[in-house]
């Protein structure tokens, strides 16, 4: 049958007419079948795979975009802005929409010469951390002129666009750099720890200081926008919106005026100042100098600038106030006096004759006094006033290292102050246990002797000394140090920081406090006091104590020869701690000046500024009392 129908040339009896007609009919059948096949395929796509394709179609057009919350601004106690958000123009690239990225980058460099190789390198690195369909920043801080130039060339650069962004700005620049810290681009390490959902639209994260410590509060909560986009990612319309919750506004205890004055007081030297409110532990000023401009970091610092900062001999990136660990030296003497009185090693009347040196029984080594000739007859008050080493050698030797260490840790030595700066270091309060654990050596009696005058293994930060002075001024009552004063959320609800009291130091006789307070007052006011450089003309009563931290230890014999050290970096550091007013203390201060003896003058300038800010009545009252 088939053969008959389908092989017409073998059946010559079949007419041409029949052949042609048959083939035509056959074609009609074929067309019908082909049409049917198309319909089946169409049915399959539209009915069986409808859900699959409908989802893909929605995915194509709908996008959920994160809306970055504005970062909370940071203000000082009086509302002066310390960190704010400024609008800047940013050139961004969506790599998915760029066909020849390298070529486009080279071309865009031609029209925007300010785009450096550094920028491109940074962009290439950032791009790899992002999805291909999300923008990565190519260049920050475009000038208005550059924005105009780019706009006129934009059609040549699909996938490139300019957006206005809020950029962190620190108006006090170097003066606040260490405490406020700065924000920078989120790095790979941080990427693992942050809440990726909340940081979807965020490029920056607090890297140091307050910015880092209060990152959670400052960041806010990301918002979302559901948008319809076309194939180029261009937003056609916004379908729905969930606004972001902006970060909270933070008020610090810092007083910008005092911070500025303290910064200026350290001009030309390396050092730091810590000024704290003794009534609640709030930090009024915390300066480390030299410093750096944190605004460099928000834009992505160039590797050259960064190297310069890193390799500078003055170490501007180093936060001396909380990370600078120095031997506290003679500034520990008031605290040692409290420890000696409380531990019974000395009493108010106990006196020694100071020949200028001290020897441990059975050892020939002579521990010298800073004053070669000695101070004559010395009791505890005089010892603090003239900073007599020999008295405290004796006191320390009698008291023993364990009693010393236990009392000093009550003053906060060797422990973190708990201030809201993440970089803080605890320092070292040496003890036999510590030495065993860290140095694998046993404790020698000689160790106790040098510890008694704050040398040896003992290391403390300026902030720790300010804290110890504050506890002393309040006769044992101390507060956890803090810089947060209050925060305000977007509904204007205030959350005020309430000070956290530490467990107070209880002495068997509270009179001991007075003995030390008086002795410290004498440091400033007495002719023989070591604090003469501070100046007794201050219009407020001050209790203070000086200190000289040895950098380069001279041998015993050299000491006599009064070798003059010419190398600046081998010169001693100077300390000054104080609280004022003596009778009802308000503030405590610690100043460290490296390789210069000017700590007390710096403290004077800062305290003057503090009290000048008070009302005139106070000044009158106290000048008469002076």
């Amino acid at each position: 049958m088939n053969k008959k129908l389908f092989a017409p040339q073998k059946k010559p009896q079949r007419s041409i007419q029949e052949v042609l007609t048959f083939r035509a009919v056959f074609l009609q059948v074929v067309f019908f079948i082909l049409a049917l096949l198309l319909c089946v395929r169409l049915f399959f796509l539209t009915c069986f795979q409808y859900n699959h394709f409908a989802t893909l179609s929605l995915k194509n057009q709908m996008k959920i975009l994160p809306v970055t919350p504005p970062r909370g601004i940071i203000l000082d106690r009086n509302g002066v802005i310390l960190a704010e958000n400024r609008p800047v123009y940013v050139l961004e690239v969506i790599p998915e929409h760029v066909k020849k990225l390298e070529e486009s980058l080279a071309n865009i460099q031609k029209i925007l010469p300010s785009l450096t190789a550094d920028d491109i390198q940074r962009f290439q690195k950032e791009r790899k951390q992002h999805r291909r369909d999300t923008p990565s920043v190519l260049k920050m801080h475009l000038s208005l002129e550059e924005v105009a130039i780019f706009a006129s060339h934009q059609y040549k650069f699909p996938g490139f666009h300019i957006s206005a962004k809020l950029m962190r700005h620190y108006p006090f620049k170097k003066k606040m750099a260490h405490i406020i810290g700065y924000v920078g681009r989120i790095n790979e390490h941080e990427l693992k720890t942050i809440d990726n959902l909340n940081y979807q639209g965020t490029n920056f994260i607090g890297k140091q200081g307050i910015e880092k410590y209060y990152e959670d509060i400052l960041h806010g909560t990301v918002g979302y926008e559901q948008v319809e986009t076309n194939v180029n990612g261009k937003i056609i319309r916004v379908l729905s919106k969930q606004p972001p919750v902006s970060g909270r506004k933070i008020y610090l205890t810092i007083d910008a005026r005092l911070q500025k004055i303290a910064y200026k007081a350290l001009k030309g030297v390396e050092g730091s100042v810590a000024l704290i409110d003794v009534k609640n532990g709030g930090v009024l000023a915390l300066v480390s100098r030299p410093s750096f401009n944190p605004n460099l970091f928000t834009t992505g610092i160039s590797s050259k600038d960064y190297k310069e900062l890193l390799n500078s001999k003055e170490r501007p990136l180093f936060h001396r106030a909380v990370r600078g660990l120095y031997p506290p030296a003679s500034t520990v003497k008031p605290f040692m006096a409290i420890a000696g009185l409380e531990g019974g090693a000395v009493n108010e009347k106990f006196g020694i004759r100071d020949p200028g040196w001290f020897m441990l029984p059975g050892v020939s080594h002579r521990y010298r006094d800073w004053k070669r000739t000695g101070h004559g007859t010395v009791n505890v008050s005089r010892a603090v006033m003239v900073s007599c080493d020999i008295f405290f050698y004796t006191l320390g030797h009698k008291l023993g290292i364990n009693s010393i260490a236990s009392m000093m840790s009550k003053f906060g030595f060797g422990e973190l102050t708990g201030i809201d700066i993440p970089e803080e270091l605890p320092g070292i309060m040496p003890s036999p246990i510590w030495k065993k654990a860290k140095k694998h050596q046993s404790w020698y009696p000689g160790d106790t002797i040098i510890t008694s005058i704050g040398q040896g293994f003992w290391l403390a930060s300026p902030l720790q000394l300010a804290q110890a002075a504050a506890i002393l001024s309040q006769k044992g009552v101390g507060y956890k140090l803090h810089m947060l004063n209050k925060m305000i959320d977007e509904n204007d609800n205030q959350i005020i920081y309430s000070p956290i009291a530490k467990s107070p130091i209880e002495l068997s006789d509270p009179h001991y406090w007075q003995i030390v307070h008086d002795a410290m007052h004498a440091v400033i006011t007495n002719n023989e006091g070591t604090g003469y450089r501070f100046g007794r003309d201050a219009f407020y009563p001050v209790a203070g104590k000086t200190g000289t931290a040895q950098v380069f230890a001279l041998s015993q014999n050299d000491h006599n020869k009064k070798t003059i050290i010419t190398n600046k970096y081998l010169k001693d550091h100077s300390w000054f701690i104080a609280f004022a007013p003596v009778e009802s203390p308000e503030v405590a201060i610690a100043v460290m000046v490296e390789h210069e003896m000017t700590a007390s003058q710096v403290a004077r300038q800062v305290l003057d500024a503090y009290f000048q800010g008070r009302n005139n009545e106070f000044i009158k009252e106290n000048i008469s009392a002076h």
Binding site: P8, I16, V19, R23, A24, A35, L42, L45, E228, V231
Partner: protein, 372 residues
Amino acid sequence: MRIKNSPTYKLPRLGLHIDLPLMILILLLAAFGLIILYSAGGQSMAVLMRQSMRLISAFFLMFFLSFIPPHKYKSWTPTLYFIGLLLLIAVMIIGRIGKGAQRWLDLGFFRFQPSEIMKLAVPMMIAWYIDKKKIPMSLPTIIISASLMLIPCALIAKQPDLGTAIMVAIAGGSVLFAAGLAWQFFALLAISGAVAAPFLWHFLHDYQKKRLITLLHPEQDPLGSGYHIIQSKIAIGSGGTFGKGWLNGTQAHLNFLPEHATDFIFAVCGEEFGLIGGIIIITLLTIIALRGIYIAKNAHSTFTRLLATSLISTFFLSGFVNIAMVMGVLPVVGIPLPLVSYGGTAMLTFFAFFGVIMSIGTHHIMFEEKVR
């Protein structure tokens, strides 16, 4: 001379040689095409007007061609074919001088593609040649007929314009098929095609190879050449039974679907009118084809029968290949959807086809011809 009394579709009062059912079907398809195009073209009145103007001029061309009696076509056939062939060679030489693809011949006031002429000239020439010889065809007849088709095909494919080359091959092949070419030849063609495929592969342009690979695995390269297929399948599939509604297709309007006004316009129809819209197009195409074959069947000479069969087959198979390609069944080749896709040249060619078919259908008195 045997004159069959077939029903007349001549409209005596107007003097038009119009096949009314075919005319109505063409109008329906073209009208539906305009509706889809309005949406696919981004609701641009300019696009719509331009396409309408083309349609009107194409209708005039059809009316004009339907007036010419079939025997005139027959007598012009060799001339038309050889002119077409010469133009193809001319285009090739100009293309050599210029760079890249050269399909157009610029006559200053008018640009046209000689390959379009061949869509008509090749089936005419083969029908003319077979008509001169005997049916059933002898082997030399078959070989010469095949050569008449393959030479222009090769020239067009070289341009490179694979879509048109395939259409010309379909046109020529369908004449041979309609003339009763033995099944064995088609089987032989299929086998030799399969054997030659690996060799032919080397002659394909890179983009053509890519399209073939992409057809098999579109997901391998979702942003490259697989993109067309994926996006058009999304458009059609997401249309569902009734579609997203006219002007509501997101795939086309947000530019996810490429070439949505031209080669991929069927996907827009599928997205906005769903299964129903797709079936309407397929049905119209099929009924037009069936009507065309009916006219061919009733034609009075071997030449006209073969020619009409070939032209209507080319029309239908173009539509089939286009729709199958848009639905991801056949590789992406540049074949437009007849009467619907935006663009003038292809439209004119198809209306010329219908003009010739109508001429064949309405001139039923053939003076010097009879069916042998």
